[in-house]
Amino acid sequence: MSTMNMIQAINSALDVMLDRDDDVVIFGEDVGYFGGVFRCTAGLQKKYGKTRVFDTPIAEGGILGTAIGMGVYGLRPVAEIQFADYIYPAFDQLVSEAARLRYRSGGEFWAPITVRAPCGGGIFGGQTHSQSPEGVFTHVCGLKTVMPSNPYDAKGLLIAAIEDDDPVIFFEPKRIYNGPFDGHHDKPLVPWARHPQGEVPDGHYRVELGKAAIARPGSEVTVLAYGTMVHVCLAAVEESGIDGEVIDLRSLLPIDIDSIVESVKKTGRCVIVHEATRTSGFGAELSAQVQEHCFYHLEAPIQRVTGWDTPYPHAFEWEYFPGPQRVTRALTAVMEG
């Protein structure tokens, strides 16, 4: 057991997997000698050699195209997309190839790739270093989409993703790399070292894909969130005094609908929170499913708290970011509604 921040936990997951499985290879822009712009692969090239951990050309489509080929050969490639905002040039290889390969080949070929991509805002990254594109991947049959909210889950989910025989997109909310940022940007960040989920086993363990976690049990309203927003929601629940049950989805697809339904049937109310833009974001799917399954238990309209439907504006970061105040407002509304 060690104290790790999320970068260290991710590094540890990669280290464990490189060590256990000779077929694991890691590559991406600046991930080799340098160790990644966020340092998630620091030290790994030195430890495992240049053909296990290496730099690539700046071509996200080429990175994922070759990753698929390696996966078909029998390797377990882990590719880094430097920022989630830069995943779009690889969209075709993900959507048309990785996602459909097993299906279209009648199960003959598949691509057990893991795609790591730092996502989300709150770091003054502007419109091209702040996006949360997870929603679109959940519309693509054949991809699994994951987003951890803490170092323990990050390591366990990443190991599970690498060991999974399906392609997994693993989004890393970079705002919480160093600590559980709760949206109070004017207060100092608590480091992971002072958070229970900063305690991370050194060795191998898995956090199952497709299982949500109850981040905080509660009785009055179910709050669905993932990534950074889990901490924002926890803060809002505390500050509002409303007894919210905060569910950390962890895995968006497959989604742990049973845990969600159980909670909403209990509370009768639901608030959904994500940083991504609202229209057709993953919150829409959550809302649709909750009302499909829990219609007769709902006592108020489901509320969505999300990024606005605009690009991420650099100077108005905190007006854009769905912080605890906005979540609190939604909690209050859903209690009244």
């Binding site: 050969y73 075709d92 279209r104 070929f109 497709g210």
Partner: protein, 409 residues
């Protein structure tokens, strides 16, 4: 400079349109046997000339000429001829099936059989193939069951792809034949990735991939060449220049300005241009490239210059955009005829043998077809629709179980 000169946009125009007479008299066709065969470890920079050249082995009389003439025993050549003929007969027969409504779609490779067949012969059996939709000859050359291919085209009860894919989008793992994608070019960087993996693992197998000349404009062409160059991947990348991309002539892919083999130069990769209707030349160049890759000397790009003798697919009617006489006038001939002539010249084949083989293959295809049809055609779905929900993921996740139940299964 005359700053008041007005700019104008160039729009490529093919040599001839319907109603015009195609004229190939200006086409530069170098003589067979005129080029040196460089050592397989030659520096890429020493090979620039091959990108503008046209490697040819068979001359007009069907004799094999020059350094590139490969050493192939007559039996192998006869096997190659057989595979090409079988491919053509198979194509013709399957086209009829589509016309009869027994399947929805078909793509022929008529006129281009030497590409897939000679290349399959030049590669090792363990080498991994990442084809486009016009290399059915690879499967046939590797001796794959025609019945199996037909069952896929028919989407019948024996369709190994469980009715999921468009006809002809084969996938045959045991023959090292990768699942064909409907999206152009995506297989190209995948082949490079496979080859990189093979190199990482200290394997001896190489990869090969094919795209049409039209597809070279797609990003994955660039990705493949970049990654192959950077990591010196053991891969043979082929561009089948059959001069058409549906209705667009090769000028819309850049063919007015440079050859497709020349694309390789900027990546420091050898670009070898070969007469794609010359079985021996295709075999020789592919063998050279495969050997080069296997010796850790890196990737090669091969442009196979040929002509799409028939429609793009069963959805296409080429008389709408090119002169119908064009194919007949195309000067590089027919790959089957040319190999036949060579074998006859060697005294290893005869007109009678040829007619006999054609009849035999025809009968074989008919018999196979009968068997395949006995397992059904498009109107006889392959399996229970229940299977529709399988293989999206390795295990069927709960939401797909629910949807399957919603469908009633």
């Amino acid at each position: 400079m005359n700053p008041s000169q007005r700019l104008s946009l160039h729009i490529p125009e093919p040599p001839a349109r319907p109603g015009e007479e195609p004229d190939y008299s200006a086409m530069r066709i170098p003589p067979a046997g005129g080029l040196e065969r460089p050592p397989v470890d030659a520096a890429a920079t020493a090979l620039h000339g091959y990108a503008d050249a046209l490697i040819r082995v068979l001359d007009d009389s069907g004799a094999a000429c020059g350094e590139w003439a490969p050493q192939i025993d007559p039996q192998t050549l006869r096997d190659g001829l057989r595979a090409m003929m079988l491919t053509r007969i198979f194509d013709d027969r399957m086209l009829r099936m589509q016309r009869q409504g027994k399947t929805s779609f078909y793509v022929k490779s008529t006129g281009e059989e030497a590409v897939a067949v000679a290349q399959a012969f030049a590669l090792d059996d363990g080498d991994m193939l990442f084809p486009s939709y016009r290399q059915q000859g690879l499967l046939i050359a590797r001796g794959h069951s025609l019945v199996d291919m037909m069952c896929q085209v028919f989407n019948n009860t024996r369709d190994r792809l469980k009715g999921r894919q468009l006809p002809i989008m084969y996938s045959v793992r045991e023959k090292g034949f990768f699942s064909i994608s409907g999206n152009l070019g995506t297989q190209y960087p995948q082949a490079v990735g496979w080859a990189m993996a093979s190199a990482m693992k200290g394997d001896t197998r190489i990869a090969a991939s094919w795209v049409g000349e039209g597809t070279t404009a797609e990003p994955d062409f660039h990705h493949a060449l970049t990654f192959a160059s950077v990591y010196q991947a053991p891969v043979v990348l082929n561009v089948v220049n059959n001069q058409y991309a549906i209705s667009s002539f090769q000028g819309f892919a850049g063919g007015e300005r440079a050859t497709f083999a020349a694309r390789a130069i900027g990546y420091g990769i050898p670009g070898m241009r070969v007469d794609g209707n010359d079985f021996l030349a295709v075999y020789a160049v592919t063998r050279w490239a495969a050997e080069r890759a296997r010796r850790n000397c890196g990737p090669t790009l091969i442009e196979l210059f040929t002509y799409r003798a028939d429609a793009h697919s069963t959805s296409d009617d080429p008389t709408a955009y090119r002169p119908s006489s064009e194919g007949a006038r195309w000067p590089l001939g027919d790959p089957i005829e040319r190999l036949k002539q060579h074998l006859v010249g060697l005294g290893q084949w005869s007109e009678a043998q040829h007619t006999g083989l054609a009849a035999e293959l025809d009968a074989k295809v008919k018999a196979d077809l009968k068997e395949a049809e006995s397992y059904g055609t498009l109107s006889t779905p392959p399996d229970s629709p229940r299977s529709m929900f399988e293989d999206v993921f390795k295990d069927v996740p709960p939401h797909l179980v629910r949807q399957r139940q919603e469908m009633g299964y």
